[in-house]
């Protein structure tokens, strides 16, 4: 009798093992979810999901969530539109029980350059005065962290241009450049493969250089003081509107007349009685000095 009971128990054990073996393929299928470690943005792919029956498939990405019922035992398609955003995606397959895995979507080929050129106006011949920064994005506006190098091409209005290739670091390429010698627009183009983005920086004359004035009689006991054409050290004319200061020191004290440059020169009318000293300045630059002794 005891032996019969033991036989029955052994039989149940065999049945239990058989039942477990029947269930296991489903579990193994869930555990064997095979996905690529990395995927390029916008490229669909398939996942092998072994087993049988139905399961719920979840795809959770940075900007997209998919939930659908799938049949196990075949390939599960992940559409290209499901993986536009770069980042980590989670896949969960819920039969019984749930199993999950993740993969990374990396940026596709560079398609956009977000290009910043600073400042918009810069004096000529100034060291490290122009900053150019390019962010490399793919067509889905994912930052391309693996971008190689950006070519910065500089084309001044006059004179020879130049280009520099700057390696990108974490999708960002930046360069600091000197302004060239001549005033006028300078075109700076950031290029990576077929992608180009252009900006313009306006180069303006630097500080005045060799500032000189002369004086001649005006009407009613006045004198006219007038500068030579005001230029910087590279020969670029300072823009009209730049303020030039004429300072007169005489017995009455000190008086200053600020006047803007018009058509390249600055001019002022001063009332002088007796001897006087007149100086001229533009910004931080001092020009020549005139000593008047009551008459010219």
């Amino acid at each position: 009798m005891q032996r019969t009971t033991l036989n029955y128990l052994a039989g149940y054990k065999v049945l239990a093992v058989c039942a477990l073996l029947c269930v296991l393929p489903g579990l193994v299928a869930a555990a064997d979810l095979q996905v690529p470690a990395t995927v390029q943005a916008g490229q669909g792919f398939s996942i092998s999901a072994e087993g049988s029956g139905q399961a719920t498939f979840y795809l959770i990405g940075p900007d997209h969530v998919v939930k659908r019922t799938v049949n196990l035992g075949g390939d599960l398609q992940v559409q290209s539109s499901d993986v536009h955003a770069a980042g980590r995606y989670q896949i969960i397959l819920c039969g019984s029980p749930c199993t999950s895995t993740s993969f990374e979507v990396k940026a596709a080929q560079p398609a956009h350059l977000s290009f910043f050129l600073h400042p918009s106006r810069v004096p000529v011949s100034t060291h490290d005065s122009i900053d150019a920064t390019a962010f490399v994005f793919d067509q889905y506006f994912n930052l391309d962290l693996a971008a190689a190098a950006v070519d910065f091409r500089v084309t001044p209005a006059s004179g020879a241009g130049f280009s520099r290739q700057v390696p990108a670091r974490h999708g960002v390429s930046t360069i600091r450049m000197d302004s060239t010698q001549h005033e006028g627009p300078v075109h700076v183009t950031a290029a990576l493969g077929k992608v180009e983005e252009a900006r313009v920086v306006q180069q303006v004359a630097a500080e005045a250089c060799g500032l000189r004035m002369k004086a001649f009689p005006g009407a009613n006991n006045t004198i006219i003081v007038e500068t030579d054409p005001v230029r910087d050290c590279s020969g670029n004319a300072l823009p009209d509107g730049t303020v030039v200061s004429f300072t007169q020191v005489d017995k009455a004290g000190k008086s200053t007349v600020d006047t803007p440059i018009k058509k390249g020169i600055a001019r002022a009318q001063l009332s002088v009685r007796g001897s006087a000293q007149i100086t001229v300045a533009c910004g931080v630059v001092l020009g020549n000095e005139l000593a008047l002794s009551g008459r010219l």
Partner: protein
């Protein structure tokens, strides 16, 4: 007189309760933060530690660093709230541009599919790696200690406790720093 005094004594606790209630709810009615609300919020913000050593080409000012850490913490607080509640209204202005579009879309799709995500935030180590000379953009990497639980309805589907690394682009606004791009990237020690 005695009756009035007794009434006063009897009503005093009720008056105090009403006054306290008014103090607490009054500001809400006016659209102002209620007493203690700000401190509660700051207590629930995740810990953010910013490292800006060797930042180039422009060094960071101390106030800028403090502001960035604060708004980054606020952004994570809001993002976690939106992903758990399924409400895009939980997102204010901490995200902008592509980052906001992506997050809004995800929250909407989560709600439509019945999924919600709970983020248990154990803190962020931010490393600033690029700050443009004109101060218009900053790139950072974040090593975040997160526990991410994914639910379908009430059913817990998955829990992730692995470290996460994010690349962030931030730009300054009038009174704050905005997250313009937030991408989870492969965890590597290179950025730190």
């Amino acid at each position: 007189m005695k009756i009035a005094t007794k009434l006063n004594v009897a009503l005093r606790p009720a008056c105090l309760a009403i006054a306290a209630f008014a103090l607490a709810l009054g500001p809400l009615a006016l659209g102002l933060p209620a007493l203690g609300q700000e401190s509660t919020q700051s207590q629930s913000l995740p810990q953010v530690h910013l490292n800006a050593d060797g930042l180039a080409p422009r060094p960071i000012e101390e106030l800028t660093g403090t502001t960035i850490a604060r708004y980054y913490a606020l952004a994570w607080h809001e993002m976690a709230g939106a992903l758990e509640s399924g409400r895009t209204s939980a997102l204010s202005d901490e995200f902008i541009g592509v980052a906001k579009e992506r997050l809004t879309r995800r929250v909407n799709e989560q709600r439509q599919t019945g999924i919600h995500v709970r983020i248990v935030d154990h803190g962020h180590n931010l490393k600033a790696v690029f700050y443009s000379t004109d101060g218009a953009a900053m790139q950072l990497f974040d090593q975040a200690q997160l526990e991410i639980q994914t639910f379908d309805g009430d059913k817990l589907l998955d829990t992730q406790t692995v470290p996460h690394q994010y690349m962030i682009l931030m730009t300054p606004g009038a009174d704050r720093w905005y997250i313009r791009d937030l991408e989870e990237v492969e965890v590597s020690a290179k950025s730190f």
